[in-house]
Amino acid sequence: MFLKNCLRIFSSARIRFLLNNNVKASTFVNYKSVASLSTSKLALESEKVKVTFVLNDGKRLETVANVGDTLLDVVVNNDLNIEGFGACEGTVTCSTCHVILKPEDFERLPEEASDEERDMLDLAYSLTETSRLGCQITLTKELDGLEVKVPETINDARS
């Protein structure tokens, strides 16, 4: 529980940091440095979990991630090749980091989606009952082996 709270504080602090700074063209590069400068992250560095992103064409991107990172952090820090993922850099103002979870994983996430997250999900393509924004899922030890589906980003707006 204590750990979970730490994580929560850590990730919300980071989002706030981004909110305050994003205007001066914070690039992905210094976004990364924001993440690694955090002391709480260093303390947790030893804790790793396996995460798999399954792309629409069936391709599986398997990666090892730090406990305490969000799924968006995982994509950015590992340079995973997912086109257009995380356009707003984790500020819950777009839905480009939409992921679909297995029902059992969805159920065991420590936090439910906020209204703001649901608002953004409502604009996503291929919305499901177990959809979440990757930037809002913080990895815990319990989520080791998590597998999420990344829905197709190519859609014909007129169809």
């Binding site: 994003n22 205007v23 976004y31 090749n81 707003c88 996503a124 859609n155």
Partner: protein, 475 residues
């Protein structure tokens, strides 16, 4: 320096390849950049030149996204990564149809992709629409966002009551700019001229008028929630507009359902609302279409004559509105027209359909084939119509870029095209001192604006003068 090196090496290397396809993208907004992103990812070898009418990139991300939504602009970082790729070039201050024509681009490239969006606003075509203080939302947005075209917008904010015609996200952006406490706006990159005018604004009652009902609103839930949560602003609905709505909510799809539920919640709260002195009021009205504008002897708008509508059709979300004989009058001294955007035919060779979009199939512009010319494509609002959020434009741009990749791969006999070298010759031939702003030039403007912003305690103060931009870019 190292960048130049990489670029030179790439060019040198490429000259040994068979032929590297050259793609020209016209317009550097989200559609253009997302298409470039996909092309770079899917093609091992491609040259991409992004042409832009203004000296600065990013289109509506810079000039459309509201100043109090800086998070949405974070996507600029992804676009900047694309622009920094050695095989991608940005060339600003080049207008299609004016500095260069489409035929010329198609002679010198292997594929030409039009992504120049929809820059004009739709008009109503009703009496007195040209009266003073009837403002196109598009120009108002451009004004507070520092678009050079709109810097001298005439707007009188000295009246207390204003109305917005239209119920989309642009309408809600306009409302938020008028109703947000000025000290919140001060910290954004809103232009100084707009900030000064809004600080003196007397507008405290703002109507948001839609021709259809609550189930057909075009704005999205995030924007509504923001509006409902604005400090010192109360939302007042007309309860009768929501008759029968609660009984159909459960039949709606999730997005529409949640949006409608939020409205219903606010309606029930607004019945016992307590409006404090100093509060501003936001008043959505449904089932009303403007019939004509009323004016005084100075040709200044004084009100709107509205036609009352009823809805017909079985599909609740897509009901059509039918005018009744009933009329209603609304007094107001300022009106915003926010009923949508429309694209401009910038070149005689661009063919539009009756909807005002460029006719296309998955981005391929439908036309009689002229084999010696580059194939023509369209993405973003110019091809889909002006609707949707950045995600939808991203998705469409990826789709069209995929089409281009397929066509380029199929194309066996590409001949070597001159690309931008030829474009530059054409530009300089007609005007020897034509300034082309490359990415380096934009970075200079960018730095200048950020520095200027520091003076005002803002993340950026945008330059609104094209000549000043050009001066800084070429310094």
């Amino acid at each position: 320096m190292s960048f130049m090196g990489i670029k030179l090496i790439t060019r040198f290397y490429c000259s040994f390849e068979n032929v590297v396809p050259r793609v020209c993208i016209v317009g550097s907004g989200p559609a253009g950049f997302y298409a470039a992103m996909h092309l770079c990812k899917k093609l091992n070898n491609v040259h991409i030149d992004i042409l832009e009418k203004l000296p600065v990139p990013f289109g509506l991300v810079r000039y459309g996204v509201a100043p109090d939504h800086p998070e949405v602009k974070n996507v600029i970082n992804q676009f900047t990564k694309v622009a920094n790729k050695p095989n991608v070039n940005f060339y600003g201050n080049i207008a299609l149809g004016k500095d260069i024509d489409l035929l010329q681009l198609r002679q010198h490239y292997d594929a030409v992709l039009l992504t120049y969006g929809a820059e004009e606003d739709k008009t109503l075509g009703i009496e007195n629409e040209e009266a003073n203080n009837i403002v196109a939302a598009r120009n108002f947005v451009g004004w507070y966002n520092g678009h050079p075209r709109d810097k001298d917008l005439k707007i009188d904010l000295s009246g207390t009551t204003a109305a917005i015609l239209g119920q989309g996200n642009v309408a809600l952006d306009v409302a938020r700019m008028l109703l947000t406490p000025i000290d919140i706006l001060r910290k954004t990159d809103i232009t100084e001229h707009a900030l000064a005018a809004l600080a003196d604004s007397k507008v405290k009652e703002l109507y948001l008028i839609g021709r259809r009902g609550p189930l057909q609103v075009a704005f999205t839930i995030k924007e509504l929630r923001e509006q409902l949560n604005l400090p010192n602003c109360k939302t007042v609905w007309r309860e009768q507009d929501f008759e029968g709505v609660s009984s159909v909510v459960s039949k709606l799809g999730r997005p529409r359902k949640r949006l409608t539920e939020l409205m219903l919640k606010s309606v029930s709260e607004s019945s016992n609302i307590n409006i404090m002195p100093g509060d501003k009021c936001f008043k959505p009205i449904f089932f009303r279409s403007p019939n004509k504008f009323l004016t005084d002897n100075m040709n200044h708008v004084t009100g709107i004559e509205l036609t009352c509508n009823r809805l017909e059709g079985d599909n609740l979300e897509y009901q059509k509105c039918i005018a009744t004989d009933e009329k209603e009058f609304l007094d107001c001294s300022l009106v915003f027209r926010s009923i949508g955007y429309t694209s401009v035919k910038v070149d005689k060779d661009i063919i539009f359909d009756t909807n005002g979009f460029v006719t296309n199939d998955k981005g391929r512009v439908i036309e009689d084939n002229v084999s010696s010319l580059a194939k023509l494509y369209v993405a973003g609002w110019l091809g889909t119509g002006p609707a949707g959020v950045i995600l939808h434009t991203m998705s469409n741009a990826f789709l069209v870029a995929k089409t281009i990749c397929e066509d380029l791969k199929d194309c066996k006999n590409l001949s070597s095209k001159g690309g931008f070298q030829e474009v530059r010759k054409i530009l300089l031939k007609s005007n020897q001192s034509h300034i082309i702003v490359d990415w380096n030039g934009w970075e200079k403007i960018d730095n200048y604006e950020v520095e200027l912003g520091k003076k005002y305690g803002k993340p950026r103060e945008k330059l609104c003068s094209i000549s000043k931009m050009l001066e800084i870019a070429s310094s």
